[in-house]
Amino acid sequence: MSLTLAIQYLISGILTGGIYGLIGVAIVIIYKATKVFNFAVGTLMTLGGMICVSLITWAGLPFWAALLASLLLSSVIGYAAEKTILSPLLGQPLITMIMATLAMDSILYGSILMVWTGYAISFPEGILPGGTLFLGPFFISRELLYSFIAGVVCFALVGILFKTTQLGLRMRATAESHEVAMAVGINITRIFSFSWMIAAMVGTMAGVLLGNRTGLQVAITSSMAFKALPAVIFGGLDSVAGAVIGGLVVGIIEKFAGGFIDPKVAEISPYVILLLVLMIRPEGLFGEKRIERL
């Protein structure tokens, strides 16, 4: 009985963890290339999701067209953000970079509020089939399952990009060392722009999937991204695979804490994990041990 319950929590934890993983990947892509931690990922994600909804409801596009268009638009936004805000601040101290992304977050937050107001917006029904799938004693929400599958496809695409393409090779080289990458003729400012564009697209994907499940509301959806922080730290800041696994682990722990202890504990458990990981193994499971110590 208890085992069935545990497996049930495991399944739903993995399914919800997929979204955290996606947000985490968006953070990691930018961190790897530019060594900037993007605190604005939550609002970028919300923005992407909201653009997608608007294209469906206001412009009347079919879902797939709206998704493609919003991916394209958000990559433009990511590019613009990198060029206007991050590029001029290249090489500044850490606090400057942290504050720059926080300020960007603030500006995007205000803009989203102005355009879409603070009320919840939901996707039209029927984009992802609803209902529940029964699998023996376990049940799986169809929406969750499909969004998880979409997430897995995303991970695969990012993985293929990094492992097999020229661009991915250049991005990995840039992540290794900026100076060496420049020395072998890689235009690293272009790589920075590309990473922001890709991260914005991954973020949009997360926003769309999240929006399909819970609807989008700027205050709530953008703060969801903070739950991806433990995921990223758990997996290691510079590992894409780590972010995915971290996301799954955080999702699972959240479900277990909620199911076996108290639903209230569930909402705080990611941050407790974050603190514990920071204290015990700050470089994460798969991260490079590059943390400065005393």
């Binding site: 931690f37 805000i85 001029p88 601040l89 500044q92 850490l94 606090i95 400057t96 942290i98 504050m99 720059a100 926080l102 300020a103 960007m104 977050d105 603030s106 500006i107 937050y109 205000g110 803009s111 989203i112 509020l113 102005m114 879409w116 107001t117 603070g118 009320y119 703060s223 903070f226 922080l229 433990p230 730290i233 209230k264 909402e267 705080i268 941050y271 407790v272 974050l274 603190l275 920071l278 204290m279 700050p282 943390i291 400065e292 110590r293 005393l294």
Partner: protein, 352 residues
Amino acid sequence: MWRPCGTIDENYRKDLAITRTPLQICLTVAGLAALFLLPLWVPGHLLNNINYIAITIVALQGVNLLTGMTGQITIGQTGFMAVGAYTMALLVKYAGFSFWTATPVAMLAAGLAGIVVGLPSLRIKGFYLALATVAAQFIISWLIVNVRPDLTGGTDTLTLDAPRIGGVALNTQSHLFYLCMSVAVLVTVFTRNIQRSRIGRAFVAIRDNDRAAEVMGISVYRYKLLSFFLCSVYGGLAGSLYAVWMRGISVDHFGLLESIWYLGMLIVGGMGSVPGAIFGAILIRSLNLLVTYTGPVVGKMFDATRGTAVEIGLGPILFGIVVLAFLMFEPRGLARIWERFKAYYRLWPFSY
């Protein structure tokens, strides 16, 4: 440090003094007198905001000590403010303390919370430590809401009576002004004294190069913890004042967004500079005030729902733009502009 021509320190006492020349002493006294006569002619609603700025300055000087001087980035100052505010409120409400006895306890409680959060600073620094403070912020709010909701009121507002001094209840803004502004002035002087004494210099040494600081015989860990402690003690004090000023507290007042604003104010004012923290608090809070007044005018141009959204959205956008502008064009903040102005003023009308 540049001195005006002809100002010569004749003994060590004079060399150490904050106010060196008779003119400076006169200006300080006149400035303080003018400051404390404000309630006589400033209308109440403006005084309300001035009180808020004073409270902000108290909390911001704490962030200044930790982030500006010691270089440990914190995005969790309002978490410590919440600890201070709730400790004070609970002690007053349930343990029969008065505001005056509860506040020191609240400061100590916040300080202890700060030390706990600072513990990982032995192993991690920079960005990772910033994340730890974010986590601490969330955990503190969660503890307040969930551990004893019967005492703290959960997410509801916890109301407070006005503190009394002698027979007078501090229930008007001008009464509160004297409380908040006196504390702000004292805290500012205290911070300035920390900055120019052994502790402050140790902090700056750790910020600039922690290994070199260790080699010079500064116990880096101890001083980092001390910095965390002081920062959160300031936060606790500010939280306690905030509770009295608001006459009621709720966890929503102590969110992550507010912590980010504190960091932004520090950037705008100039990191590691005591007057900078004052400038930053004044500038950002005044901008916010401006938005409060102009927001409804702009909002009127749209329909009701959108109007409200535009009103709320203006503040964050303006804040983000101002912070970014300072990061790009004057990363050392208003304090640097102030220094330049002083240098210019001293030399005027000659260029050397």
